[in-house]
Assembly symmetry: C2
Homo-oligomer: 237 residues x 2
């Protein structure tokens, strides 16, 4: 990990913005502003940063299958460290980057589930449907493994938490996760297309209830019920 986890980069955790007065959700389209079928998350694009990110994703996947005795590895490490040095040297300081990020597109290109520029994200691409459902398909490989040949239960929870958040934005009222109850019905396979969906069920004042599932071959693997609170942390300034 880099040394840029500097103290002071964290925004004030006490200050909150009221979701009703904080202006439009960061870069999220909603049912009210976009027609059904809209892609709500950022797709991988033909840009240099997306090319680099995709290559790094491939590296991460291949490393879990590599021969550890491959005599090329030390040389690769040298090259990769040199590139990391170069990119880090030209990168914004964390605090400035957070200010820029949240003044612009927010986390949508950078989050760990749908962020095209985040090597951790598969990335999952979600579409909004006219009935309020958000939906996407994803195929996961060895980096996301828990039980043999299956998706890690925590990865499933992560995908669903994020999908519920996007469903809330799509419905026009979103906030922060307060509670996430995840049930595992059957193992979720790697190497197969998974269907992921979420939908806001109801709201009451600041409370938001949202549900979702991960399915494989039409069968429910994981289901989730989330309670969200319609408030937002202050954007870094």
């Amino acid at each position: 990990m880099t040394a840029d986890g500097s103290a002071g980069a964290r925004p004030d955790l006490v200050a909150e913005e009221d979701a009703d007065t904080a202006g439009p959700s960061f870069a999220f389209a909603t049912l009210a502003t976009r027609p059904g079928g809209a892609t709500l998350t950022s797709a991988v694009e033909d840009t240099p940063v997306d090319r680099v990110t995709e290559a790094v994703r491939r590296l991460g996947d291949a490393l879990l299958r590599t021969d550890r005795a491959d005599p090329s590895l030390p040389g690769f490490a040298d090259v990769l460290e040199a590139i990391a040095d170069r990119i880090e040297a030209g990168a914004s300081p964390v605090q400035q980057r957070l200010v820029d990020m949240w003044a612009g597109e927010g986390v949508t290109r950078h989050d760990p589930v749908t962020g095209a520029e985040n090597v951790i994200a598969p990335p999952l691409v979600l579409r909004g449907e006219p009935d309020g459902t958000v939906r996407g398909e994803v195929t996961l490989t060895i980096p996301y493994q828990g039980p043999p040949g299956c998706v890690h239960g925590g990865v499933s929870a992560m995908l669903l938490d994020h999908t519920l958040g996007v469903a809330n934005a799509w419905a026009g009222k979103d906030g922060m996760t307060a509670q996430l109850n995840t049930r595992y019905h059957r193992p979720t396979p790697l190497f197969e297309e998974l269907e992921v969906w979420g939908r806001q069920e109801r709201t009451e004042g600041r409370k938001i209830w949202t549900v979702g599932e991960i399915r494989a071959r039409g069968e429910v693997c994981v289901s989730v019920e989330g309670l969200f609170i319609a408030k937002k942390l202050a954007r870094p300034r």
Copy 2:
């Protein structure tokens, strides 16, 4: 993502091994076999594969802060793609890799939370204590962001699901997650040391109840209750 998500790589999801007869847990120490204070997960080592993985982690972090107009990026993409090609060309086919992995160290060096060889993993290092608690500290950066300056709720759920699984192994009876109820008490900060712990509370037949928390500055940010079932999927053969 690579094209190696080939059909047929998935083990038979129906076959199960009884946890009571499946032999020792894959590469996990338990309270019965190790003294308290034992490191239960794999630390980053001074090996070529760990060096490459660590460099790739640094790249992933720096990419989220890079200037997208940096004229060096296309050249870096070329180099990274060439290295990915080389590592992929020498890597084991997925099915063979799964067989080897689960015949050996299991997922412990490869899982998305504690796996030193997995670029998705921070990685979290967990220690086992004599009272059955497992515990570790981790500081997360921008790749793990959800709300501004804070850890993604799904990332917290992922860390805790895994920590509870390791706590079960440490207690000597583990299995698969059936239910995970996660509560978010306050925002979990990035760039600060987080304390993560889990402990098995009780078992009844095949059912296992396990709890855990993520704390920052001594305060509970996220708490979790998990129900696990003591069964295992068959190892790929």
